[in-house]
């Protein structure tokens, strides 16, 4: 006669009570004992260890209490400096190719087949220009940044970052593994949110999900790099410009880590109260990075896939931008109405209506923020560069600076606050969807969306107020 399942479970419970409550430890102990016995029989240390232990020496520096953080800072700065300095020329070449020649050529083609003006406008001035812009702005920095980052990863540096940050996360009441999911978020927040599955405790996992937004993702690096280059880098003497630009981007990234820690600490003391769990983190041996393979996979896996996503998002956004600035309600375009409606709020927080409207258009993908801002600034402001409504134009860095300051009325405050807003604002729609998928909880999805947005408004409002009080802006 078979037992029914309830009887079986009862019996198990009874036996467990008889044995005592340390059964888990006893089971684990016997697994360890068995493993030790087998390993001792199978492994013999043959020759001597090599005299110079490369791994230990390097770890003594990279994970040291004194040098760990400075080393991290220098490595990060190096990566961004190479990215900013290296992306400049290919970016210019691409924009000449795609925006200057490609754009003219397509319009000639449209004239040749005598396409209606609205169709040519929508497809060439809207869809084509938006995608071409995204490619020209994003491809070169990404093609440099990702392989460099992947090389560091392949070398084995990321677990050291987690090791260095662990103490801070622990103090914030969060899980040490959050440092890893945070680093994952530097590629893509949606990926970072999925990666939080490595965190066992639901409380700490939620903290990691909500704060992942403060890891700057692919879509936001270009905004920061552009602002850092044309506003902040430009204040330094030319030979230092790219260092200062890289430094400003690193500063925003570090601020992101600080915000992550602060928000984690806040959450673990309020809505998500609890103790931080401990865990063991393995510091794997350093491995010589396989350079060519890394470059290949990071170009294929990351750069092209991310770029493709940006293009898919940019094409419809381009159409939306073109339509909204060419459909008129009364004597103003839809975009014009939106921008003047958002302007008071934008100016209050040291930004402007164009930027806020661009962030609404860019909810599906942060990648298109800068192109949208430029296009709207040019078409809604005085037509300085002779742009038609809804056309994204080809500009080099100096021209972008001129357009933003003279037409858009930007100041250093606008640039700094845009960088802050870019760091703090709500996650993109893909990430929000991923958060919903991972939590299946409306409340937490809403908090993960609105908490960053609220923080972005608060912080930019504060910096704007302080800057105005001190007479900087």
């Amino acid at each position: 006669m078979a037992l029914n399942t309830d009887q079986l479970l009862d019996s198990a419970r009874q036996l467990r009570a008889e044995i005592g409550d340390n059964i888990h430890d006893r089971l684990t102990a016997s697994i360890y004992a068995e493993a030790e016995q087998i390993a001792s029989r199978a492994v013999t240390p043959s020759g001597q260890r090599s005299r110079f232990d490369f791994d230990r020496t390097l770890d003594r520096i990279l994970t040291s209490k004194t040098w760990g953080f400075p080393a991290m800072f220098v490595l990060l700065l190096g990566v961004f400096w190479l990215t900013i300095a290296g992306a400049n020329i290919p970016s210019q070449m691409l924009s000449t190719l795609l925006l200057d020649w490609g754009y003219t050529w397509l319009h000639q083609l449209a004239a040749l087949v005598s396409a209606p003006a609205w169709l040519a406008g929508l497809l060439i001035d809207g869809v084509y220009m938006a995608t071409a812009w995204v490619v020209a702005v994003m491809l070169p920095p990404m093609a440099i940044f990702f392989p460099l980052f992947t090389l560091l990863e392949d070398f084995g540096y990321l677990p050291r970052v987690a090791f260095n940050l662990d103490r801070l996360f622990h103090r914030a009441g969060a899980h040490g593994k959050q440092a890893l999911t945070m680093v994952m978020g530097y590629g893509c927040n949606a990926a970072g949110v999925v990666a939080t599955r490595i965190i066992e405790s639901p409380r700490e996992r939620l903290i990691a999900i909500i704060t992942n937004n403060f890891s700057i993702c692919n879509g936001r690096w270009p905004t920061l790099i552009l602002m850092g280059t044309i506003f902040i880098g430009a204040t330094a003497p030319p030979f230092l410009a790219s260092f200062v630009a890289a430094g400003s981007v690193v500063a925003v990234a570090i601020l992101g880590v600080v915000v992550t820690l602060l928000v984690s600490a806040f959450l673990s003391r309020t809505w998500l109260k609890g103790e931080a769990s401990t865990f063991s983190l393995e510091l794997p041996p350093y491995r010589p990075p396989r350079i060519w393979q890394t470059i290949y996979t990071s170009v294929i896996d990351r750069t092209l896939i991310v770029l493709w996503r940006a293009i898919v998002m940019a094409a419809p956004a381009g159409a939306v931008i073109w339509l909204s600035s060419n459909i008129y309600l009364g004597d103003t375009s839809i975009a014009g109405h939106m921008v003047s409606w958002l302007n008071p709020l934008g100016l209050l927080i040291g930004l402007n209506g164009v930027i806020l409207f661009a962030y609404i258009v860019a909810i599906p993908a942060n990648e298109i923020v800068v192109p949208t801002i430029l296009m709207l600034t040019m078409t809604l402001g005085a037509s300085l560069a002779g742009a038609q409504p809804g056309v994204m134009v080809e500009l080099d860095d100096a021209q972008v600076y001129t357009v933003l300051t003279q037409v858009g009325g930007w100041t250093m405050l606008t640039a700094v606050n845009l960088m802050l807003f870019s760091l703090l604002h709500n996650p993109c729609s893909t990430t929000i969807l991923t958060i919903w998928n991972e939590t299946r909880n409306r409340k937490w999805t809403a908090i993960a969306t609105l908490l960053p947005l609220g923080l972005a408004f608060t912080v930019t409002f504060l910096t704007a107020s302080v800057a105005r009080l001190l007479g900087w802006a």
């Binding site: 006669m1 078979a2 037992l3 029914n4 399942t5 079986l8 479970l9 019996s11 198990a12 419970r13 036996l15 467990r16 008889e18 044995i19 059964i23 888990h24 006893r26 089971l27 684990t28 016997s30 697994i31 360890y32 004992a33 068995e34 493993a35 030790e36 087998i38 390993a39 001792s40 029989r41 199978a42 492994v43 013999t44 240390p45 043959s46 020759g47 260890r49 090599s50 992947t150 990863e153 392949d154 084995g156 990321l158 677990p159 987690a162 593994k177 890893l180 999911t181 999925v194 990666a195 599955r197 490595i198 066992e200 063991s280 393995e282 794997p284 041996p285 491995r287 396989r290 996979t297």
Partner: protein
Amino acid sequence: MNANEAVNHPPAPSASACATCPMYNGAQLTRLGINMTDWDYVVALAGNPNTGKSTVFNALTGLRQHTGNWPGKTVVRAEGGFLYGDKRYKLVDLPGTYSLLSTSADEEVARDFILFGQPTVTVVIVDATRLERNLNLALQVLEITDRVVVGLNLMDEAKRHGLHVDERQLARELGVPVAPMAARQGEGIQTLLKAIDEVARGVYVTRPRRINHRDPQLEAAIARLVRQIEFTFPGLPNARWVALRLLDGDESIERAVRDGTLGQLAQTPTPQPRPAIRMELEAVN
């Protein structure tokens, strides 16, 4: 066991001596990437984080799963396929875990697949430089399933660190085939393939090591519970492991007992590799 092999591996009349050479078998590997519709065997790839699972996965399937040496990289399972000999294999890359005991989401993905997905063969990739700790997972996998192959990876690094790892001794201790590898350099993939193939086809019959708890009270309780489990779910392939989990108060296994998931496991016979062998034998006769 040798006699078995002789029966199952008759020299095919048409093949030359090359057929026995591993290089020849290596040439039989066809990477199918994600293009697989049908398969004969399912192979699960388990292991601690950072042991080179994804590197092995890529080498076998020709896919380019992003590899990286830190935990959290693979949190969902990746799938791919390859053709070896005339058999189609589906390969499932599980998240890297240190154990199957605790209940983080990634450990559960790995454990549920090994338990309920019933792979034909489970490959455990272990790090030769950290054998003792890696064996914890291997031993736990051996409690769940018999058909295991151990990929002893990073042999090159072990050598660099002045460690000699005796793969034959390890195979004797664990009772399953062990393939020494340096997957990053592409070494040992052939040996691993051959071992997977032999275990899948039932040519190599494993005798998996069971953990001895060296504790009469505990062992008595296990034995009693195993009898009851076998009563309730006749034919369950891993009653001892289920008994241990129930004694440990594992909630997800208690749930599986209650809602009948475990019962289904007992009813569906594990996809035994028998038919393939029988066909071969028939072909010989």
